[in-house]
């Protein structure tokens, strides 16, 4: 992994695969992707930058009014020193998304956490289990969903 090699900028890379990326703030890029195309886009990204790409986190949001779950994949591209946020949406009544574990093994605990707290199933990830973080009494509940009425009372 030499530092002297010239890497394409994110705008050029995404233009080559037919997508458009926006720079919302200095060094922060954002893009909407269809859920089925996501593992493919990530694989091309990893190959283009010689593997110097890592996933920081998966921030999943429950937009109950619009009846969707939005998944934000916060990724970091090391040679370009920037942050890329890939956004996808899955319908609330059928929360299934493809897993990135075959492409990027480090996504495993993040997908397990989203499955545990929000109930989105990642197809292709054999390590999903309930409960992962929650206590046994809440094994069938999804606390971060907006319609969950739980025992807590802040």
């Amino acid at each position: 992994m030499s530092e002297e090699k010239e890497y394409p900028s994110l705008k050029e890379f995404f233009k080559n695969i037919g997508l458009e990326v926006r720079e919302v703030k200095p060094r922060r890029y954002q893009l909407f992707v269809d859920p089925d195309k996501l593992p493919d886009v990530v694989k091309k990204l990893i190959d283009a930058y010689d593997g110097q790409v890592y996933l920081s986190t998966i921030a999943a949001v429950d937009f109950i009014d619009e009846k969707v779950f939005e998944l934000n994949y916060d990724m970091s591209v090391i040679p370009l020193r920037c942050v890329l946020i890939l956004k996808t949406r899955v319908p609330r009544d059928k929360p299934k998304a493809p897993s990135l574990v075959s492409v990027l093994p480090g996504a495993r605990p993040h997908e397990a956490e989203v499955y545990d707290l929000l109930g989105i199933e990642f197809e292709g990830n054999p390590y999903l289990e309930k409960p992962f973080l929650l206590p046994k009494e809440l094994a069938n509940e999804y606390p971060l969903r907006k319609d969950w009425k739980g025992p807590g009372k802040p």
Binding site: G51, L55, A60, R108, L133
Partner: protein
């Protein structure tokens, strides 16, 4: 040669109070060698993200500082930066420099404590006691600047809450010189002592491509040769003006990860000196800090002592966030790094696990399940580390 199966006997219970984040490691052993590992987490799950949706912005800064007590100023800084990003709040330059000062003091004390705990895990008790005694000076400096030894509550949305006086700056420079002298002595021990090297070198080796594909962060990534540091790549606070070097080591084993931390203490000491000498004058808070933040998305990253810390907030306008996502570095490092324990001896397990810096050295209990007979024994960590005879 057939392997003699050893079933190891140990009482249940938390081990040496040197830090605990109660977490359970299940290890399958064949004789002395570890064949498979499973991490059982969730003992520390407090429902912070659920609570964050029900508290106001300022209450959230206080609560998020208490996600981790060892790196609490970094959590406070990142949380404030995330909300400032959402609300477009400008931070005055003096506050930015003071944030860097407090974050670097935090880094020094956090690295010293994990080095002390590693010394304890390999049986070097006197080094543990010496490093803890010298660390008390850093806690005194933190108390001078922020008012409390551990939980600072120093950073708020828009700036910092207390200013530093001239006498405090002089005292900081005096004590920092003392700590640098002591750290030169400790660097010789960690770098050259044959007993320390024999326990740490070649245990838990991770190549650079493994580290990247498993998404390691922080000293774990830099110990495998990858030059990545959030302070350089995505600068925040005053890090674009304060000069420093990014430390990497090529070996990728536990020794390399601890040496990255030793060298980072020297870099932090230089940064503290630079900040004190170049502190700009001015206010520490902007004139108006809003109570309600507009709708939008806020994102902030920073370099905690353990790695990269990410805060991602989504707001629909109003007094409370709609969603707050916190990703601590230890979450990724522990779950993704567990595969490094495979193939090691049972007595190396505490050494490798402590080198991840698991926000306080490790597990309450280690369950050892013997693969052939299926017997289960439970062992506290400090008994495990004493198994290996040198």
């Amino acid at each position: 040669m057939s392997k003699e199966l050893k079933v190891i006997e140990i009482p249940v219970g938390p081990q040496h109070p040197a830090l605990h984040e109660p977490i359970q490691l299940k290890i399958w052993v064949y004789g002395e060698e570890v064949v498979d590992v499973k991490v059982v987490a969730g003992f520390n799950h407090r429902g912070v993200e659920w609570l964050a949706e029900r508290k106001t912005w300022f209450q959230n800064v206080f609560m998020c500082s208490r996600v981790c007590g060892i790196c609490n100023t970094v959590h406070g800084t990142t949380c404030s930066q995330c909300f400032e990003d959402l609300g477009n709040v400008e931070v005055p330059p003096r506050a930015k420099y003071l944030r860097v000062l407090v974050n670097e003091l935090e880094r020094i004390h956090s690295h010293m404590i994990i080095l002390a705990i590693m010394a304890e895990a390999i049986g070097f008790d006197s080094l543990f006691m010496l490093m803890m005694r010298d660390r008390e000076r850093v806690m005194y400096l933190k108390e001078l600047v922020t008012g409390n030894r551990v939980l600072a509550d120093y950073v708020t949305i828009g700036g910092v809450r207390r200013d530093v006086s001239k006498e405090t700056c002089d005292k900081i420079l005096k004590y920092i010189d003392f700590i640098e002298e002591r750290m030169k002595f400790y660097k010789k021990i960690w770098g050259e002592d044959p007993i320390v090297r024999k326990r740490l070198v070649d245990t838990g080796r991770a190549t650079a491509s493994q580290a990247l594909s498993h998404c390691f962060v922080g000293p774990m990534l830099r110990g495998s040769g990858v030059k990545s540091d959030v302070r350089r790549d995505y600068p925040y606070a005053a890090y674009d003006e304060v000069p420093f070097n990014v430390i990497t080591y090529r070996e990728g084993d536990s020794w390399a990860r601890m040496m990255v931390r030793v060298d980072e203490i020297f870099e932090s000491i230089n940064m503290v000196r630079y900040v004190i000498e170049h502190l700009p004058s001015g206010p520490i808070l902007p004139k108006v800090v809003p109570r309600k933040l507009p709708a939008g998305e806020g994102f902030s990253k920073s370099e905690a002592p353990r790695g990269e810390l990410v805060y991602h907030a989504i707001s629909k306008g109003g007094m409370k966030p709609y969603r707050l996502k916190i990703r601590t570095p230890s979450f990724t490092n522990i779950h993704n790094g567990a595969f490094l324990i495979k193939g090691a001896h049972v007595a190396d397990v505490p050494v490798i696990f402590t080198s991840f810096d698991p926000c306080i050295a490790c597990t309450e209990r280690v369950k050892i399940i013997d693969a052939k007979t299926g017997k289960v024994r439970i062992m506290p960590f400090n008994k495990l580390s004493k198994l290996k005879k040198l």
